[in-house]
Symmetry: C2
Subunit: 149 residues, 2 copies
Amino acid sequence: MRAADLVEPFPTIGIDDDAMDAARLMAEQRLVGVIVMDPDGRPHAILPGSQLLRMVVPPYIQADLALARVVDERHADLMCATLAGKRVRDVLPDEKISLAVVEPDATAMEIAALMTQSHTPLVAVLDGDRYVGAITASGLFRRLLAGTA
Amino acid sequence: MRAADLVEPFPTIGIDDDAMDAARLMAEQRLVGVIVMDPDGRPHAILPGSQLLRMVVPPYIQADLALARVVDERHADLMCATLAGKRVRDVLPDEKISLAVVEPDATAMEIAALMTQSHTPLVAVLDGDRYVGAITASGLFRRLLAGTA
């Protein structure tokens, strides 16, 4: 079983796209994170939902969580408004979360080992320079368990 | 907007359940991880898929990733067999990944701040001692974006 057999479509967002579109993508497709693509169409990093949420929590609340409890509800409803006008590159973490990349002929064991080492349930598949899709830990289990059934 | 309005069903697994069932749950429901429950029915920890994969990658491959490339394909097909007979508690990481917990009256801002601080896109909702479900970062975005639409 090789990466080419395991790969599935996985949504991406451009590094210069609107940060609000990244939030929409995660919301609509129930994603834990999205793959951020370089302007040249290669995977650049992972943007986790928890990182994007950091942008909608004001610094004074991050400094004192107790304040989150007393914040005006109307303010909370406007939380996502702070994403407007920001690009994806503006909301990426300072410490880049790299995305593991494999070629289509990578073995299932290789992919599992990569996910284990990177503590990330996502590996992108590149055929040369072309992004083909991604393999998730849950997708890998789905295929591995089908083999043992 | 409060936790009680935001909570959704989220699957759990018992700490003494079969580890293979945890893999099946992630596979079938396309989860990045599952919530592990104590025998008394309270959330104990998060079990990420990448951690469960660690169990199916032999130590000699973890030590030398290059070996993953040459491993016999038939072996790879049997990867999940190593989970058989193990319980969830046997596959939890040494360093417990705690699950943030909120009461039903927690505000959206409080939940966002908790996810931001814990770097986890998942918060469990407990009504007293009773597990009600969970809130995900993507679910939170879905509701917050609906408010700004």
